[in-house]
Symmetry: C2
Subunit: 483 residues, 2 copies
């Protein structure tokens, strides 16, 4: 494919992107394909000779689209949102063309430098404490990770490195392996599966702390558990607090958990993967009260801040502890500016990294902070609209207060009813929702995801849910009558 | 930015990409900026109001380009190549627009299914043993990871999980922590820093085995070390063999290492990050002889196979062992097709994942297998051209035989001469090369990287090296005269 052909294909692809996104409501949100469907649609081997662009382009609709779950359809109310915006797509095209691998500053200085400044921009938008920002001149700074799971692992490694150093200072006789076997992580039983996986990855023990009636981590139980573990000779070192949990968007209270961590000398990592984007609005910043007690903080602009995946923003107060945790330094990666600027290879699990700050830069400039705030506020408002519609229907109940864009609803009565409702909704393909279990209570997670969602879409989604609720409750009455 | 504005901006960006890549030789390959340069070029805070596209677009040249190391310039002879092709860029645009997060099959079936088939295509192109392929109907299969480092970690986790299960069957009384403290990883002292980091991440011990005179892992020493460790009550479980090392593109001999691993019951992971792409050519497949003895294999199409970063291809013979290593299964991720198709979230460290198979599909179809082979052969030929030019100059010597696109050269005599030469070359900004140390010998790594490189570029690069060699050797003679 020469540059002329690419020019033509590129313009065609830009038009396709517009047509796909602007008409996305016309597509069935959840596909009807069966596992293995694609083997019948494409050859078993790569072609020996080059094919034409026209053949490839035609296969987007023939092969790919029939099996796509359309995450950017307003009918998609599952999981949490993943971001998608025109400015981010433009940033990614540029990133692809430049195609640098920014593992060190020298490997492409702009790649590192723009990231440093963008993480400062973002940190200030969220009113993060100065200590987290590179512009404060201290050891703090931000970095773009691929996902919140990776941020959780990276923070764990820094915390582990800090704790081991401290223990060794106090007890030089103790072996590394003896320490490792006694290191303890903690998170709420509502925290993301990525936290358990982080501990697993590091071959470390983790305790999931019981959440309270609001599904927030119980700080008292956390404190008791840490103290008991210490009394038993174990080394508590890492707590993950969550702001906006996946099952129901609950918020851990940092003003309660933070002081426990300080008192006990434990690293507090704060995972605000979804809800963090909302902190750009002053009215939501109270949810992160106590953030100054955290050692590291993370949220995903690729979820709710219009920056396409992957862009997970992470800050750490003392980056030296991170670099120390990754102290592998081969000659082929050394350069003569080391120490003056971050070498992000020491801040992440992989070595290679794309120029992801570009899409963040494009989004923040082309939306402005105002535009980002407007996006968040609109989706929160739409979730409230949905809640209001539901509140008028006495057959439904809400499982937890609606705070962001997520509504956890259920039919009153046994779980089976709501389970049946969820299946019926998703089988219809009209909208797509996902399940959650809050202790023994099954709920349907309805999330406002697509940036194109309007009030009519909210009404449409509600009517779909209502339609199948009518059906199921009618059947259930009929069945009871039969009995 | 509405769809009309995006259409216009998108077309402008496509034109910019063409102009950037087609005229890349005109730019200084390595920038002259100083650490912190960007803070002076952009505001300290994000804009409140949206800016215009024209303002953003103009800043690409004003802010970004002055600090770019141009990885796709034929003057870039550093590190290893990172891929960049028009078909891959088109695939990425589509991936960005679809913007699905394919962590489970149901999350977007096409995302998983195309990846399964593409990994079969790729595996067959490389003539991987059937057991690695999903189409064989067994437990084998491929997955796209972000980087080779991640593949190394993922394979380590599967190996660890297998070994622990086995030890527990034989010794039910032994504790997990006792096992962990005795687990041992092995790799050559020439292996990538990612291998040491993988062990570090898992809090596990690793031994770097001395390489032989060809910088290949010494299988005898490996065997002796494993046996000694076993005799000492330790549990050897994981060996990483490298095909095409980073320092000098050396090849470990799988026909020697593989049988040791089989005899000792140790998992063999093969890391062919760079050189793996070459195995699409029959004449290079002999380098992977013994691959049937591996448990997992990995190479990076995003290095040498025209697929933009990130696309690291990994295969595993028994995927069940991988899934078992990641056995966290929350309700919000469950769906009713589980078990029939891979849920790739169990195959990787992060939860989220982009639709990366698209760019691989586009590249393989628009180049054809022939086109991919031609690309590899051309770059190997160009490395030979460079070697031939150098061979005529008696002041230079080659450190290791040239097998792929990498030439490790040095000035005869003390290391200082070559160190000085490397600095002088890179300071000139005419070409960009990186250092390596092979035991006590300092070498300059000259790698054919950019896909646009032609024979004139090779001659140009050689002349730059020669020019500064003349300069340095003249100075050195003058200095000696003065003494």
């Amino acid at each position: 494919m020469d540059s002329e052909q690419f020019g033509e294909a590129g313009r065609q692809m830009i038009d396709y992107v517009i047509s796909y996104l602007e008409n996305i409501r016309d597509r069935r949100v959840f596909p009807t394909v069966k596992p293995g469907f694609m083997r019948d649609l494409i050859p078993a081997d790569a072609p020996e000779k080059p094919e034409t662009w026209d053949a490839v382009f035609a296969d987007i609709e023939r092969v790919i689209m029939p099996g796509i779950t359309h995450w950017h359809s307003p009918r998609f109310n599952a999981f949490f949102p993943t971001a998608n915006s025109y400015p981010a797509i433009l940033g990614d095209i540029l990133s692809d063309a430049i195609g640098c691998i920014g593992f060190t500053w020298a490997a492409s200085p702009s790649c590192t430098e723009l990231e440093v400044v963008m993480m400062d921009w973002l940190g200030k938008m969220l009113k993060l404490p100065e200590e987290f920002l590179a512009c404060s001149g201290g050891q703090g700074g931000g970095v773009i990770q691929g996902t919140a799971s990776e941020a959780t692992v990276v923070a764990l490694l820094a915390a582990k490195s800090r704790r081991i150093r401290k223990i060794k200072e106090e007890h030089p006789e103790i072996t590394n392996m003896d320490i490792l076997s006694k290191l303890m992580c903690y998170a709420s039983d509502q925290s993301h599966s990525g936290v358990e996986r982080a501990a697993m990855l590091g071959s470390l023990n983790i305790r999931l702390i019981k959440s309270d009636k609001n599904f927030a981590m119980d700080a008292k139980i956390l404190e008791e558990t840490i103290r008991k573990d210490k009394a038993d000779g174990l080394f508590p070192f890492y707590v993950v607090a969550t702001l906006g949990t996946t099952p129901c968007c609950a918020f851990d209270d940092l003003t309660e958990i933070g002081p426990v961590c300080k008192r006990e000398g434990v690293w507090m990592h704060v995972d605000a993967a979804y809800a963090g984007s909302a902190f750009v609005c002053p009215e939501f910043q109270h949810y992160m009260k106590g953030i100054e007690l955290a050692d590291s903080f993370n949220f995903n602009p690729h979820k709710w801040m219009l920056v396409n995946f992957d862009c997970s923003a992470m800050w750490i107060k003392n980056s030296a502890e991170l670099v120390e945790a990754f102290n592998v330094d081969p000659l082929y990666l050394r350069h003569d500016k080391q120490g003056l600027v971050p070498d992000y290879r020491h801040w992440q699990i992989p070595l290679g990294r794309r120029f992801r700050a570009l899409k963040l830069w494009f989004v923040l400039r082309l939306y402005g902070v105002e535009g980002v705030r407007a996006h968040i506020r609109l989706q929160v408002k739409q979730a409230k609209e949905f809640e209001d519609l539901m509140a008028k229907d006495e057959r439904f109940e809400i499982a937890v207060p609606v705070r962001m864009g997520l509504v956890c609803l259920r039919l009153k009565g046994p779980n089976e009813l709501s389970e049946k409702l969820l299946r019926r909704i998703n089988d219809s393909g009209k909208i797509y929702v996902t399940p959650s279990k809050l202790r023994e209570t099954f709920v349907i997670r309805f999330c406002v995801c697509a940036s194109r969602t309007n009030s009519e879409d909210i009404l449409y989604s509600w009517n779909v849910i209502k339609e199948y609720a009518d059906e199921i409750l009618a059947e259930s009455t009929t069945n009871q009558d039969k009995k």
